[in-house]
Symmetry: C2
Subunit: 446 residues, 2 copies
Amino acid sequence: MIGLNTDLYELTMAAGYFESGKAKQSATFELFFRRLPKYRNYVLSAGLAQVVDYLLGLRFEEAEIAYLQTLPQFQGVSPAFFEYLRGFRFTGDLFAAPEGTPMFAGEPFLTVRAPLIEAQIPETYLLAMIGFQSLIATKASRICEVAGKRSVVEFGTRRAHSPEAGVLGGRAAYVGGCIGSSNAETGFRYGIPVYGTAAHSWIQSFPTEREAFERLQTMLGPATVYLIDTYDTIAGAKLAASLGKPLWGVRLDSGNLVELARSVRKILDEAGLQDAKIMATSDLNEYKILEFAAVDTPIDAFGVGTDLATSYDSPSLGVVYKMVELDGRYTAKFSEDKHTMPGSKQVFRFSDHDIVACSWECIGCGPDGQEAPRALLQPVILNGELVERPMRTATEARAYAAECLKRLPTASRSLFETDKHYPVTYSDELQELLARAQDENRLLRC
Amino acid sequence: MIGLNTDLYELTMAAGYFESGKAKQSATFELFFRRLPKYRNYVLSAGLAQVVDYLLGLRFEEAEIAYLQTLPQFQGVSPAFFEYLRGFRFTGDLFAAPEGTPMFAGEPFLTVRAPLIEAQIPETYLLAMIGFQSLIATKASRICEVAGKRSVVEFGTRRAHSPEAGVLGGRAAYVGGCIGSSNAETGFRYGIPVYGTAAHSWIQSFPTEREAFERLQTMLGPATVYLIDTYDTIAGAKLAASLGKPLWGVRLDSGNLVELARSVRKILDEAGLQDAKIMATSDLNEYKILEFAAVDTPIDAFGVGTDLATSYDSPSLGVVYKMVELDGRYTAKFSEDKHTMPGSKQVFRFSDHDIVACSWECIGCGPDGQEAPRALLQPVILNGELVERPMRTATEARAYAAECLKRLPTASRSLFETDKHYPVTYSDELQELLARAQDENRLLRC
């Protein structure tokens, strides 16, 4: 039942297109953002695998169609449209940048080319899926950049915007560089490593902290992580140290983490547990981890929850999905501050800049010796069929993201907003197309 | 397949409880927040209906169990535990404040009393569901408070944190006071009014704006909303005015909304369309709507997207789920800045203050003539069975929320953070319980 998981107006328009004899017009839509989100110098693309699943599985069940027929907006719609919905399949094309690609303003993450209705209905779902996962992958990449060699685990499902956002957020955080997630469903669905041992309720459930620790160690052996702050962190650390091996280490979840990590490190070392690690959790983010690094805090791993799962400092990515071509006509929108560029596009990525061009252009295909750019948008679905099976896994996307991020200029990788924007220009041909579309639209407004 | 939709450590602990012979201990957990989110003076509870569905449907399928058996954390776990998961059912009790109740720091939204494992596993899902829906219901209530008699529609699925968050966010926004959502699935699942007519792509898909408008009107009649800013808002308004009735009105989606609304109102009025309404969209929130109201802008309805769907200015609610009793023992956590209050509680709401007390206390049951408070937590599930069928609908929750919000003091309803906090105190008996638990915990730490 996913057909209705969209804005009603996509379906109202679908009915209108159908009734106006436009169902078979060939449309091209592009998904992009106009401006970088605040505090971000790039956005890491994620969510493509789920978009593919959605497009290939998009159907309208009888109960969904019956519901639409009850709505006031559909009272003037002919039975033929509902019959059309019964047989609905996505038969078009999807071109997309691979998951894990750093994207900049105006660059399409994906292009849908399909019969008008088939291209229109997916708008809402695609925006929500790509927008959300890209937001979280981006946040994760910032945290992992600062953490350096220390591991980061995504721990945020409980603060995610719904349980399902938690599952998908765990996936996106992994693409962005986390070593895994606390969410079991994320592991189950996407083959991503999952982590987690015990909460305060475990400690509280035993008459003594000692018994709680001992029981955990019996079960987990070398995977044991003692959560040591339920009653008193230093006492908890001494108790953990006294129990000896095997253990992975301890977790701190409250108080002054810098001071506590130093004291706990000392306690563990003095007990001969130099290999035992310290994990920190408790409202962490990239800014706090930067502070820890600055004062050389002995923390080996971070569990990041709320700030990562909600991209707290920048909780929305303004992705839009705009029609750029219809039946060979170039279309654009000229609303104040919100205009769009007409025509299907390609993004050519050079080592230190991008050129956005018309999709039929071949930029950088000049004489030998010139640097060959990467064309970001590649076919994923053609005529309703997946081009390459199986899809790239989250693990492959994660490796690709790491490789791409390494190549970004230092300014773009900075934690703080930079004035030195990654250079993205439009090709001459694309600019001419815009001028032409503007002229034409002056004529056809009314 | 919802059993795995939780943090792995809930399941690791479940295995540990099982192996330690604690499976049948009776536990009580409470869900609450320690501090109000920034810029909020109350939080409106929402999401209870989905929590009930989850608890009553919680199962572990064979594939989920097989997955757990592959994880390193479960290698030391006996087959009996997996057999237990196969037959897992929630057999406990759920007490909760009705959806639409304004909540304050330290007050339980819900209490789960069940065998320890059954109470532990739901933690993550309950936090994500109640936390998210309450966040959005709260944001919606702020926007609707400022909009006053003008309608607010939730338009934000595309910017929600995943498509499913869009569906649930539409529900929560409705509970908070919106008249409906743009999300068709929200309407289908929860019986909530849905709205939506056409986007810019509709306008662009026709050779002229006139044809696009005429086609829409043919289909929608009196429900027609002309989106007039695709090319030029004033020209679009004149065109809409020239087409005459029937129509609902026009929508503005860019530019200076105050100036444009005034010009467009004049154009409509001069064409004799005094009844035609003006709807505004475009990155709105309660602060912008307050500005519109201050200068008496002729806008009749608002569509609010990103800011509502993400609670942009305050995107997370720090809900926690803490064990307060286990087999008759009162439990608490004494971590720095993160301590909890032991014992199962009740919230007694008087007309202008709340008293949080032990669940067995009867506050305000004194001599006649005293004000009788409302006890917020009421039984919803007892011994795994729903107490009252059917559950209160979203429409009923919305009416209840409106009634509760009206009764809040002016300071609490302010858009801006107030120092005049809603008075919440702890009963003497609860404070004594805390002191006792602290004493006991001093003895049992190691």
